[in-house]
Structures are given as structure tokens and as C-alpha cells.
């Protein structure tokens, strides 16, 4: 599935008495990195989770390309997410984790794809150990491989640089730039102003659930 933009219109999300999003309009384009900025509680993660289809909006719509809102498996196969947590299984090795997700994503020639990811993200012999034993940097490499194995059209990054050393951040930047070159729609949440400045093609400032004047 290929789409060149994702649009959100009048997006509202209410949790009980809390209004996490209060009517957000935005467009995220292919080949661009959009950085969502804002203080804690401004609705950044809620917006990201709605884009990822992990949370349903209370009102408003999300359009993936021209054909409007689509839900379900087909659309999820075009979305990749990378966050602070690796979203993998600590008791499985890197290769076992990648093999599991390759099966779930119905990746053809999975073994070859996994070999390519292992090489690209320099997953060495440590990748044979359970992920529980990995350093933060090693976990990030596994998480990158997991998030990108299906070449997602929409790549969502939720504070991916938290806890990384300089090399880890550099690897992240190189990877995100490569994804932008490939034509992916990249949405990044970060509290790191330097990272935001290096990667942002556009900025979406959020404050208390609404788009703030820039």
C-alpha cells in the first residue's frame, strides 16, 4: 500500500474528563520528516497512537492518501513505529524476534530480509542472546530492524532517542534520513531540540491538545 500523505481533520480524543486532543488539523507528507513539538500532556503521543491506529479518535478523521479512512490489517502493514521501548520480546533473541515479526508481516524471503537487517543494523553475535541481555544501544538496533523490516510508508517515531549515547543518536539520524530519501512519511516526537533541528522538514507545535501558533 502506497500513499503520499496522511491528513488529520478535526481530530478530538477524550479520555473520561480529560480532552487529550481538541480538534487537530494537520498533513504529513511523503519524503518529509514532521516533528511534533510540545510539552508533556500536549497530546503528542495520543496523536501518534491515532495515526498508528492503536487509539480510535472520539471525533474527526484520519485520511491515508486519497481514499479516505481505512482500518485493519492492510493499512497496518504500511505503518512502522519506533519508540523508547523496543516492542520486542526480552526472552527471544534478535533473530527470533525478527523472525516472529517477519511471519506476522508476511515478509517474503524472510531469512534473506533478516540477514539484510542484521547486516544493516550491525547486529553481531550478541543478536543470538535473549534481548533481555542487550544494552540500550543494541536494543535500539533491534527495534529499528523490527520497525523497518516491512519498509513502512508511514514511520512513527515516539521519543526514539531517549537514553541513547551519541553513536546511537547518530545511527538513528542516518536511518531516518534514509527513510525520508526512500519516500516514507516520517512523524517524529522528540524532546531533543538538536535532533528536531537536524531532522525536521516541518514542525507541528501542539499545546494542550491543539495546534499552537508557531
Amino acid at each position: 500500500m502506497v500513499f503520499d500523505r496522511v491528513e488529520v481533520k478535526g481530530l478530538v480524543k477524550v479520555y473520561g474528563a480529560t480532552r487529550a486532543l481538541g480538534g487537530v488539523d494537520a498533513t504529513f507528507r511523503a519524503g518529509q520528516v514532521t516533528v511534533i513539538e510540545g510539552p508533556n500532556g500536549s497530546g503528542k503521543s495520543t496523536l501518534l497512537n491515532i495515526l498508528a491506529q492503536l487509539v480510535r479518535p472520539s471525533r474527526g478523521e484520519v485520511r491515508y492518501g486519497d481514499t479516505g479512512v481505512r482500518r485493519g490489517s492492510e493499512l497496518r502493514s504500511a505503518i512502522g513505529i519506533l519508540a523508547h521501548a523496543a516492542m520486542t520480546y526480552p526472552d527471544l533473541s534478535a533473530r527470533e524476534n525478527l523472525a516472529l515479526f517477519a511471519r506476522l508481516y508476511e515478509i517474503e524471503h524472510a531469512a534473506k530480509v533478516i540477514d539484510g537487517l542484521v547486516e544493516r543494523f550491525e547486529i553481531g553475535r550478541w543478536g543470538e542472546r535473549p534481548a533481555r541481555t542487550y544494552s540500550r544501544g543494541q536494543l535500539q538496533r533491534l527495534a529499528l530492524a523490527r520497525a523497518l523490516m516491512h519498509s513502512p510508508q508511514l514511520l512513527l517515531l515516539d521519543e526514539p532517542s531517549t537514553g541513547l549515547d551519541v553513536r546511537g543518536v547518530e545511527r538513528l539520524v542516518v536511518t531516518v534520513e534514509a527513510e525520508r530519501e526512500r519516500g516514507a512519511i516520517v512523524v517524529l516526537i522528540t524532546h531533543d531540540p538538536e535532533l528536531a533541528e537536524r531532522l525536521a522538514d516541518s514542525v507541528l507545535p501542539l499545546d494542550r491538545g491543539k495546534v499552537a501558533p508557531s
Partner: protein, 223 residues
């Protein structure tokens, strides 16, 4: 659907074979309940046999709730559940894979508990025990199906273990009651055929629990 279910089931088994965490913790807990009860309530052979069905089901259901909680705790760790929910497989496949995995663990524990209860409570190791095993499989299938759904919900709540126990036991009461009564009948000497009414209740409970899980898992995990 089946592809996703199988991949998740295989992952469950692989992790458990590696860690043995659920089988050891839940299994030991079930055994502890059984042994302590046998020491506390043993009077004579006849009384012991009458206590056996209750002890078996208490041990099995308590071990089951532990197994379900632990199975979903694995999904919480490193936020693996988020990766799973984003995968392009029907959400029902995730439910089914998790449910079948937990079912295998619970059955493995129950098939250890059953002969232990039989020995400690002077139950004949013969046809009666086989009938009790059939009833246990039927009862625990619905219980695990129901429990998997609520344990999944507990991933998103703070008082997760409390919530699981508080919600699961009342909602599973039709299956648990039918299971205990049917087991009491067969261990009392009744042939399995005479417990058909209870077996029908158990089958209906299984069906309702599995269908509810398949239908409700997606909306419950979406917000």
C-alpha cells in the same frame, strides 16, 4: 488469521520452554494449594473423596489466573503488545494465539494436579479420573478463554491482578460451578453420561467465552 494465530502460539511456547516461568510458578502454586488443603481437611477416605473435586478446581482455577496474568505481563514488558497490535494480522488472531498458549500451559499444570489430588484424596486412578479429566478440559477451556480477554484488558490498568481476579471469577462462575458439580458426580461413581446436563453447560460456557473473546478483543484493545 490462522497464520497469525500460529505465529503467536509458537512464540508463546518458545518463550515458555526457554523460561519455564509460567509452568513453574503457577504449577507450584496449584500444587501448594492442593497439598495444604489435603493436610488441613483430611479426615478419612470417604470425606477426602468428597473434598477432592473442590480442591482440584480451586487449585486449577488459582493456578490458571496466575498463568493468564503472567502470560500478559510478558506483553507489557518492553511494550511488546504495541508491536503485536500494529502487526497486520486480525486482532482476533492475537487473542486466539495468546488463549491457545495459555490453554496449553494450564492444561499441562492441570494434568499434574489431577493425579496429585487423586493420590492425596484417595480417588481411584481409573475411569473416574478419566471422566474428571474430560470435565476439567471442558471447564478450563472456557475459563482460559474468558480469562485471556480480561487479562489482556489488565495490560492497560494499574490494579491489573486485582481486576483480573475480581472480574474473572464472577463471570466464570457458570463454568466453574458446572465443572465442580460434574466432577463431584463422576468422582462419586456416576458415569460421565449421567452428567450430560452439566457438560452441556460447560460446552455452552466455552462457546460463549471463546466467541466473546474473538469479538470483544479488538474494541477492548483499541483505546
Amino acid at each position: 488469521m490462522l497464520r497469525g494465530t500460529w505465529a503467536i502460539l509458537e512464540k508463546e511456547l518458545r518463550v515458555e520452554i526457554r523460561t519455564k516461568e509460567i509452568l513453574v510458578t503457577a504449577g507450584l502454586f496449584g500444587l501448594l494449594v492442593t497439598v495444604l488443603t489435603s493436610l488441613a481437611f483430611f479426615l478419612d477416605d470417604a470425606t477426602a473423596r468428597r473434598l477432592a473435586p473442590g480442591v482440584l478446581w480451586v487449585g486449577a482455577s488459582f493456578a490458571g489466573v496466575l498463568a493468564m496474568g503472567r502470560s500478559w505481563a510478558r506483553e507489557r514488558e518492553a511494550d511488546a503488545i504495541r508491536g503485536l497490535l500494529l502487526a497486520p494480522v486480525p486482532r482476533a488472531a492475537i487473542y486466539l494465539g495468546k488463549m491457545l498458549g495459555t490453554w496449553v500451559f494450564v492444561m499441562a499444570i492441570d494434568f499434574v494436579l489431577l493425579p496429585v489430588v487423586a493420590i492425596l484424596f484417595r480417588v481411584e486412578l481409573g475411569e473416574e479420573l478419566l471422566s474428571a479429566a474430560v470435565i476439567l478440559v471442558l471447564g478450563m477451556t472456557g475459563y482460559v478463554a474468558m480469562g485471556t480477554l480480561f487479562a489482556a484488558m489488565s495490560v492497560r490498568t494499574r490494579a491489573r491482578d486485582l481486576m483480573l481476579s475480581v472480574v474473572l471469577f464472577p463471570l466464570s462462575s457458570p463454568g466453574l460451578v458446572a465443572g465442580v458439580v460434574a466432577t463431584r458426580e463422576v468422582l462419586g461413581g456416576a458415569p460421565l453420561g449421567e452428567t450430560l446436563e452439566w457438560l452441556r453447560i460447560l460446552l455452552a460456557f466455552d462457546l460463549v467465552a471463546i466467541v466473546s473473546g474473538l469479538v470483544l478483543f479488538e474494541p477492548l484493545m483499541s483505546d
